[in-house]
Amino acid sequence: MSRKLVTLSIVLAMLLVMSFSLTIGAQEVTLKFLHRWTQEPDSTFFEEVVANYEEQNPNINIDMEVVSNDPFKEKIKIILGTENAPDVFFTWPGEFTNRFIRAGQVMDLTSYMEDGWGDTLIDSVVEPFRYEGKVYGAPYRLDAKVFVYNTKIFEEVGVEEPETFDEFLTVLEKIDNAGYIPIAFGNMFPWAVSHYMGQLNAYCVPYDVYMEDLDPAVGDFAHPGYLMALEKYEQLTPYFNASSNAIRHDEARISLFNGEAAMMYLEIIEIPTIEQQAPEEFRNNYDVFVMPKIEGAEGDQSALIGYPEGFVISANTEHPEEAVAFLKYLTGKEVGQKEAQDLLFVNGVKNVVSKGEIPDSVYNTTQLVLETERLVNWFDSSLHAEIWSVAGSELQKLTDGVATPEEVLEEIRAAAEDVRAQF
C-alpha cells in the first residue's frame, strides 16, 4: 500500500511541475537574434545588452546566435528560407537587404516609424533602410570611409591633405619617391575595392543616374562617369602595396600602424581599433581626409561613402510586437550610449553623445557623417549579387593591371544586361 502511495505522490508531483513549467513557457516569448560580431569587445557588448533586456523584460527570452562577417553573408540567405529564420537580424542596407524585401522576408516598419520612433532617429541615417518609400530597418552604427594618414610621414615628405584628385596623385608620387608605401591596401576580399568604387562613382556620376543604375531591373551603367571613375581608380593602383589582391584588409592595416605605409582607406568604425590596438607612435600621429574631389566630374562632390549598418525584423516572425520592441531597444538611446562608451561606435539616435564623452577622433568623424547631406552605399552592397560577382572579380584584375577600365566596364554592363532580363 505504501509503495503505491509513494508512486502516486511522485507522479502527482511530476504532473504539478510539468504544468507549472508549461504555464511559465506559455507566457515566455523567445526571440531569435542573429548578429555578426564574434570577436571582442563586440561579442561581450551584445551579451550584456541582451542580458540587460531580458532583465528588464522577464517574459522575453533572447536566443542569440553569432556568425562572423563572411560566413554571415552566406548563412543569412540559407536561414531566411527556413523555419529557423531569426526574428531580428543584422543587415547591410541597400541591395543586400532589398533582395530579401522583394522575397517578402523583411517586415515593413513604416507605421512604427511614423508613430514616433522615427522622430528619435536621424533622418539621413534611416534613409538607407528605405525601399520603395517604406522603411524596413533601423541603424545600429554610422559608418563612412576616409583616408587615415600618418601625419609624421606627411610632415617628413612635405605634403599636406590634398583637396583635389590631381593634388592627391602628386602627394602619392612624393610619398612613393620618399620610400614609403603610399597606400596600404588589402583586397583579397574585394569588398575593399568596392569601397573605392562607391565613392568614385558618386563623384563621377550624377546621383539620380547612379541610383537608377543600381536598380537591377533597369540599371545599364551607360553614363561615361563610370569609365571616369574606373580610370581614376586605375591611377591610384601604382601607389598600393605589392600583391594587394593576396593580402587581407586587416593584414594590410599592419603596415599603416607600423609606419611602413603613409595612409589607408578605412572605415570610421575602424578608428576604435586604432585607439585600442595601434602602437602609440601611430595613435598620436594620425588624421583623416575624405577622398579628394574630382574636378570636372559630373557627380555630387559632397557625397560621402558610408552607409550605416543595422538590424531588421523577419516578415515571418511569430512575435512582431516583441520583435519591434527589442529592435527599438537595440537601436535606441540606452544601448547607443553604452555603444559609444564601450565600443566607440555611434548609432542613429539624435544627440546620443556629446563632445568630450568619447575620443575626439571618433566624435569628429561622426560629425563628418552627420554633416554630410548625401551618404552613398558601398558598391558591393548596392549591386545585384550577380552583377557584383562579375564586378568584384574584374576590379581585382584592374587592381593588378590585368584588365583595362574599358574591359571592366564592358563586363559589368554585360552582367547588368543579363540581370535586367530576369525582371
Binding site: K77, L80, A103, S243, A246, E251, A385, E394, D400
Partner: protein, 291 residues
C-alpha cells in the same frame, strides 16, 4: 545458411533506406533543381530548361575550374600515388631497419591534420611579407624576396596543389605499405634466386602484386581531385579573380554568394557525371590489364 530467407534482407534494408534517403534522393532532387532559377531565401522557382547548362558551358570560369581540377588530378597521381609508391617500396625494403617506423609516422602525420588547419598554415607560409617560404628564399637572394605565391595567377593553383601533395602523399604511402606487407615472402625469395636486383624485385614482384591497391589509390586520388573544395576555400577562395576556382568552389560561390542555386545544382550534376565516368573508366582499364 539462414533459417529464414528474409533474415539477410532485414540486415541490409536499414542501410539501403538510409542511403536512399540521404544519397540517392538528393542526387535526383539536385538534378531536378538544375533546370530552375532559384535561391535559398525566396519562395518559388522559375523553369529555365537547359539554360543553366548552356550558361555554364559559355562561362570561362567553368573551363578554368575543369583545368584546375585536371591539373590537381595529374599532379596528385604523380606525387601522391607515384611518389607514395616509391616511398612505400623504399620503406618496406631491406634498406631500412627500425628507422622505417619513424619515417612511416613522419610521412603519415600531415594527413591527420584537418585540411582547414593545413590551409591556414600554408596561407601564412606563402604570405608575401610574413611567409616562411619567402624568408627561406631570401637567404639566397640579394634583395628581400616578396613573391605572392597565392596572389599571382601563374602560381596560385600550383601552390595549393603542392600543399595537398605535402599533406596526402603519406596517406597513400601507408595504404600501399599495407598492401606490400601482404605480399608473400616466397615471391621475393624466388626472385632473389633468379638473380633479381632490388629494383627488378620492385618492378616485377611488388608492383604487380599490389596492382589492385594502386588502382584504388589512383581512383580515390582522381575522384578527390574533382571533389576538391576545402583546400582552395581556406587559401585563396578561388582568387585571384577566379583563377584558382575548382568545380567545388565555383559551385559554392554560385550557390551561396550569387544566389543562383539552380545554376549551382547544374554544376553539381556535372561534377557527378565527371567523377562517375572517371571511376568507371579507371576500373575498366585496370580490369582489362588482366588479373
Amino acid at each position: 545458411m539462414y533459417k529464414n530467407k528474409i533474415t539477410p534482407y532485414l540486415f541490409i534494408i536499414p542501410a539501403l533506406v538510409f542511403i536512399f534517403i540521404f544519397v540517392y534522393i538528393p542526387i535526383i532532387e539536385n538534378f531536378y533543381f538544375s533546370f530552375f532559377r532559384m535561391n535559398s531565401y525566396a519562395p518559388g522557382r522559375t523553369f529555365l530548361g537547359l539554360d543553366n547548362y548552356k550558361d555554364i558551358f559559355q562561362n570561362d570560369i567553368f573551363y578554368t575550374a575543369i583545368i584546375n581540377n585536371t591539373w590537381y588530378a595529374v599532379i596528385s597521381l604523380i606525387f601522391q600515388v607515384g611518389l607514395g609508391l616509391v616511398l612505400a617500396i623504399t620503406l618496406e625494403s631491406k634498406l631500412l631497419g627500425k628507422e622505417r617506423k619513424f619515417f612511416r609516422t613522419i610521412y603519415f602525420l600531415p594527413s591527420v591534420i584537418a585540411i582547414a588547419a593545413v590551409g591556414l598554415m600554408f596561407y601564412y607560409i606563402y604570405n608575401p611579407n610574413l611567409g616562411l617560404l619567402n624568408a627561406v628564399i631570401s637567404l639566397f637572394t640579394e634583395n628581400e624576396f616578396k613573391y605572392a605565391w597565392l596572389g599571382r595567377p601563374n602560381t596560385a593553383i600550383f601552390a595549393v596543389i603542392a600543399m595537398s601533395q605535402w599533406q596526402f602523399t603519406g596517406y597513400i604511402m601507408i595504404l600501399l605499405i599495407v598492401s606490400i606487407q601482404k605480399i608473400p615472402e616466397e615471391l621475393y625469395e624466388v626472385a632473389e634466386i633468379d638473380g633479381a636486383s632490388s629494383f627488378q624485385k620492385a618492378i616485377y614482384v611488388t608492383i604487380p602484386q599490389i596492382k589492385q591497391m594502386i588502382l584504388v589509390t589512383s581512383v580515390i586520388t582522381v575522384i578527390g581531385a574533382f571533389k576538391l573544395f576545402t583546400e582552395i576555400f581556406v587559401t585563396t577562395r578561388g582568387g585571384p579573380y577566379d583563377t584558382t576556382q575548382v568545380l567545388g568552389t565555383f559551385m559554392y560561390k554560385t550557390a551561396f554568394f550569387y544566389d543562383k542555386m539552380g545554376y549551382a545544382a547544374a554544376i553539381a550534376v556535372i561534377i557527378f557525371i565527371i567523377t562517375f565516368t572517371t571511376s568507371i573508366i579507371q576500373i575498366r582499364l585496370a580490369n582489362r590489364g588482366g588479373d
